[in-house]
Amino acid sequence: MTRLSISGLAKRFDKVAVLKGFDLEIANGELISLLGPSGCGKTTTLRCIAGFEQPSSGRIEFDGADVVRLPAEKRDIGMVFQNYALFPHMTVAENLAFGLEMRKVAKPEIERRTAEVLKLVQLSDLGGRYPRQLSGGQQQRVALARALVIEPKLLLLDEPLANLDAKLREEMRFFIRSLQRRVGITTVYVTHDQAEAMVISDRIVVMFGGEIAQIGSAGDVYDRPASRQVASFIGLSNFIDGTVDGMDGEYCNVDTRLGRMRCRAGGAPAKGTAASILARPEVIVLSSTEPQDVNRARATVAERYFLGNMIDYRLDCGDGVVMQTQQPPHKVFEVGASVWFAIPAGQTWLLAR
């Protein structure tokens, strides 16, 4: 049970600033994911917390005690690596026992705890196998078990599902999440997969270029992204550029090439500010007759792709504006058809441009 607090964390490799000094508080038992494209500094942050990298400046505190000077082996963390890093010359049981032996736990106690954790990850029968005799998913669970059996202060996961196939990856997300809830351990999870981050985390930390772009729940970062960059990294987006014409309650009127639109806004931008309206493809409603919505426009269906549970359309709105929308498959519009589309104002979000 540990509260993790990071302040002013910066890391330079030679002259390149990989982390630009940020603060982050992680509550007891919380699961935070660090989400961002490769090179955004999320892995470096994790390695600084683990003690494999020495930060250039800043503090990393476990329950208020600074650990920056502490070597990795004294930090009492459980870490799961992307390639699992199971010891190939040891059996599953020996892999699990390693951390306990380092802690001078007595033999019978080691056996008891190893068996308990193997049961937790549903691998009770495989204690005698070598890692190479296990499937990818099983190796992944052994790696989790090895990190958890030492009952560490923190659990760190570095892209733990990146090497699994899509189906297994989806299962493991829920498995890790429910396991973490049951154990109640403070966890930092690094991923570049936004769907993974949304399913698994209490809060998502979106990182770009060594800085935090936004911290928030899955709903926050998806529906109320802090910037255009965050919006385009997480999920699919349409941006409609325009100029703010003034506020109307909590809505904002924006003049765009598709006409005047009403849009939800976080603040109260001044009249004349250049802005973009974010409209997620699934909130747009297509119809053949004119809808009642304030935000409506005409378009021609330019392309159509069948996705199974959805149909993906590219709409040519004239004036070089192309919109992407995903519609339920029961209503089909032909390519070349002239359609109306509506963007419900309550599901839009205004972003600075």
């Binding site: 683990a50 082996e73 004294k74 190939p88 760190l156």
Partner: protein, 270 residues
């Protein structure tokens, strides 16, 4: 028959096969002749042997100078093997895991004895020993020379073993609470063991056979087997020499077989 016809029809392939066979025969025939000559019952080192006998083996094992040289060679080779294994493994660890600046210079320095003619290394060492007053009265100089020559073999095979292990294994062990010595003992060493053993076996064989270094750096009254053999052949030309050579060949073969049994020669990658 059909296969043979096809081979002959393809002159290029046939020619290549013939050359390969010729090379092997050329390389291996002397060894076979030495072994056969050692079984000669006659008085002189001749081929074909005049009758079969083990009398020259008896002569080798009962000759004090040969037995002394044999024991010394074994002792020197064993010491070289242990020292080269320890130093070569440490050097490889430093080179692969920790060296930042001057990495290539370090590699070149360790490998230099392999690249220079052995006799040059021997002469350089001889001058150096007399300069610093070490001289050649003791075996220390000779032993250092042998370690110098055998070190690159351990270094190369341990480097390749280290490149083949995943560095996050060591990080995983540290995150589980292992200090650097424990990480080395429990994780790194078991994983590079095939490389260390292969390198050590090479060191033993090479040191056992080393000639120029031993010739120049040996003290008075001490001599290794290859030198003793050389001295012997200057005055005597009986099959004892062949018996000695055969014993050397058998020993080398044994080392190769042991290595293969222990770690498999697939582990040898340069």
């Amino acid at each position: 028959m059909k296969a043979l016809v096809e081979v002959i029809r393809d002159p290029l392939r046939f020619g290549f096969g013939a050359v390969v066979i010729a090379v092997y025969v050329f390389l291996l025939l002397p060894i076979a002749i030495v072994v056969l000559a050692s079984l000669n019952a006659g008085e002189y080192l001749t081929f074909p042997p005049q009758g079969i006998s083990l009398r020259w083996y008896g002569s080798f094992f009962s000759s004090q100078p040969f037995m002394d040289a044999f024991k010394l060679s074994l002792q020197v080779a064993a010491t070289s093997m242990v020292c080269a294994a320890a130093l070569g493994t440490s050097a490889a660890l430093y080179y692969v895991r920790f060296a930042r600046g001057g990495k290539e210079a370090l590699r070149f320095m360790v490998l230099a004895p392999l690249l220079l003619p052995e006799i040059l290394t021997a002469i350089a060492l001889l001058f150096f020993y007399y300069q610093i007053g070490l001289g050649t009265r003791t075996l220390v100089g000779l032993q250092i020379g042998h370690v110098l020559i055998t070190l690159p073999f351990v270094f190369l095979s341990v480097c390749s073993a280290l490149y083949n292990i995943n560095p996050s294994l060591e990080e995983a062990a540290r995150s589980l609470g292992a200090g650097s010595w424990t990480v080395f003992r429990r994780i790194t060493l078991p994983l590079i063991k095939p490389g260390v053993i292969t390198g050590a076996m090479f060191a033993f064989i090479i040191s056992f056979d080393l000639f120029s270094i031993s010739l120049l750096l040996k003290g008075i009254g001490t001599t290794t087997l290859p030198i003793q053999l050389f001295d012997y052949l200057r005055w005597d030309y009986d099959p004892t020499a062949a018996a000695v050579s055969t014993v050397s060949i058998v020993m080398t073969l044994c080392v190769v077989l042991i290595t293969d049994r222990l770690v498999g020669l697939r582990a040898v990658r340069f």
